[in-house]
Symmetry: D2
Subunit: 260 residues, 4 copies
């Protein structure tokens, strides 16, 4: 039984994680922190059977094996350091940690003698897609990325689209064939160049979060495609991280560090 | 039996058409014109069983029912007018005819009392895709076009991509939802705007000629997709045009004029 | 302003429809019927701002323009007849009405001098996909259907998959090319034959409700694809039906009767 | 410079390989064997600039580094053994070698002190797809295979489809979720079960050789897709095998043995 403290327990990812971790017998949510829901019962906040009362702040990690963090970069760093120094392994789902913040967490893990992990994307299928894209780029260096999201998404390209292009660019030995396009009849047709990989962003109502990575070789095409339909797609990854972070002996980045 | 004169008979589309028209018993290629193959036998030029000898120029259309034209805009206009004035219906596969050239052909058809047709795209599946795109746009006005071609194609977007965007724009009553994108991290990510429809062009080795049209509505997505694998995809359309042009009583544009 | 009475107002489709119809200023839900929620306020049942109290049964349609029905075949028939006889146009979303039940509704519409409609599928994109499939089959008679659903769906093929195959079969003049398969190494590989159209059913967690219809011609392939992500995909169709049923002068089947 | 002897040089794969190997400066085709083209010049048989004359049988491998074999199982075994015993590494593209024939080749490679390879599929993209499918199955054990081919293909499922299903089955630890289907309205809808993995075979004109592998998890779907447009898709794999077989120190099966 792995005893987990969830920080940001009343938020979307936090409450979904509380439910996912409470569903089986492998995990137990023994503490929950959320300033916006302090004093309320976890049963009410996340709809699970539990006596835990939500605390306003992280004052102790006693009795916890793992800290699961879903607040913002600054507080996530602080909480992760606090936990790691006391021998509790941090799993950080917050985004936007700077490299110096990450170094702080890494140092604390070292001192506390525990593993730790920062997870930019908890969807196992998306992690596989990126991993395979990097592998394929070694053999089929000509690639383009098409990422497709709902019409509420404000930024383009998506973080996953940019990261995929970077991974392709790092992995391929040769540079890509030059773009054949000589006549651009309408500006922007050939997409955005991210590390020399064209990335195209589609935005339509009805879409959720999808991505296709296309590789072309002589006489053949390889496509990797991922659909993320809802937040449930992250829960297998959350459970994997909470389960395996304790087998690590240092701080790592990305779910793939636990998978391959 | 429909007797056909093929102009540009030694070219790619011309020789393929000679083969397609010679395969059944519905058509007979009774004359072939091509300055680059004058004097050679059609059997040699197109690999069919035939006694026809290729002529250097179009001097007569006697004994022909239909003229099939695969040269360039100027000569195609001249040949089509010549044929139409003599009661022979022209099918024009050449591209780039100006509106005044098209008017000349239309007038000649009227005077000659025959139908005539200009066909920008002979692939029946591509014509259906464009037709359906226009129909769908009436109901699902949010649309984007992704066209994908081999890495030898010099221009972007493709002619079919542009034409599809124009058709969508004409068909939808309401204008499209505004683009949600507020932060463009890499220029060009959202594609080219053609009549307010985003068009994305992918260029990779291994691809031939493909297009996806995506429509998004609340909770649903509709996709129309066409693959053109090789020049054979045009032959059903060539046969359809040669067969039905004689049922027309005036000059029209586009294979769909014969289909719906 | 169209005044609507919703029967089955506390069910999934009913409450979603109450919300959709209450969102703009075009419709007003003036009565709600549901035996399982009798006496409760609509505001509570469907989360909308409304004073309407849910009735246990349909005793009057006074003050209504349209009756929207989401119960089962027998009661839906009874309610639709009751409404139509009193000049209120019925929109039936219930499934499984027999032909004699449908005749009863049609007769009542005639006597009451109103239109009426039975809608098996409210998703506009799905209706378009089926319409286009029938149209495409006239030109490209070789077709296969791949329908993909979540792993909770008990039956295969899906109703939409079967209906699409029937429409393709009716529309194509020539019969399909014979199946080339001579050696079946594993039974079932070539799918189910529905009116001579192969239908393949995929069942996986993560999927919602999707369908691809593939047409093959010489050198080309045309694909029609629809994704239904959630119940919201039906709401445009509900609003369309409620809006336009009053322009009909008799009973019809299928949303496409209002669209083309 | 790697000196290659091509057996079956006048066949489809053989002559295509001769052209591919002759295109750069890395390889030289120094001998060609083909009983059906004995005595003809390679320049004529494969359209390359070369003085080599095609021999009727394999009598010597002197001056060769690699033997590339495209005949049938029995003669391929014989030729590979002959070459390996003389220190020439065999690359076998022939299909259908029995396990005892493969053992003979492996033994000869050992005795001759050379590597050797049997390659069932030379398309690098297809090899990647299968590799990724096996990897993904460890994490997302619910999978189905859809393979799509032209309407001249006589057998179903395809060899690649069957092999992919086997790889998925071997790789996944847990068994797949049970099939939810309780009501099969038309027999065959759920495809063929190959090692408990559903495989669906689509056959249509216009298709060439394509495959989609779909994996479903909670709230997400991962798809791997490969298109093989023509025989050129095999040439990169042929060159890779000929290039790297000499770095092997024993007999192996599958291009992936050289790739990962």
């Amino acid at each position: 039984l792995i005893r987990v403290c969830v920080v940001g327990a009343a938020g979307r990812m936090g409450s979904e994680s509380v439910r996912a971790l409470s569903a089986g017998s492998e995990f137990q949510v023994v503490a929950a922190i959320d300033s916006s829901a302090a004093g309320r019962r976890l049963s009410e906040v996340a709809g699970v059977s539990s006596d835990v009362v939500v605390s306003p702040s992280l004052d102790s990690v006693e009795g916890c094996d793992v800290l699961l963090e879903f607040t913002h970069a600054e507080s996530a760093t602080e909480h992760a350091v606090f936990a790691a120094m006391r021998g509790v392994a941090p799993v950080i789902g917050a985004s936007g940690l700077s490299s110096s913040q990450q170094r702080e967490v890494a140092d604390a893990c070292k001192k506390g003698g525990v593993g730790g992990i920062l997870v930019p994307n908890f969807a196992i299928g998306a992690v596989l897609m990126m991993r395979f894209a990097a592998e394929a780029a070694k053999w089929l260096p000509n690639a383009e990325v098409i990422e497709m999201h709902h019409d509420k998404k404000l930024d383009a390209p998506s973080g996953t689209g940019i990261r995929t292009a970077e991974l392709i660019s790092e992995a391929r030995k040769s540079t890509r064939n030059p773009d054949p396009t000589k006549v651009v009849k309408f500006e922007g047709a050939r997409g955005a160049l991210v590390d020399d990989v064209p990335v195209h962003s589609v935005r339509l109502p009805g879409l959720v979060a999808h991505q296709t990575v296309m590789f072309g070789g002589e006489g053949e095409v390889l496509k990797l495609h991922h659909d993320s339909m809802n937040r449930l797609s992250f829960m297998e990854g959350v459970k994997l991280a909470v389960h395996r972070v304790r087998e690590l002996d240092s701080y790592v980045v990305g779910l793939d560090a636990l998978m391959f």
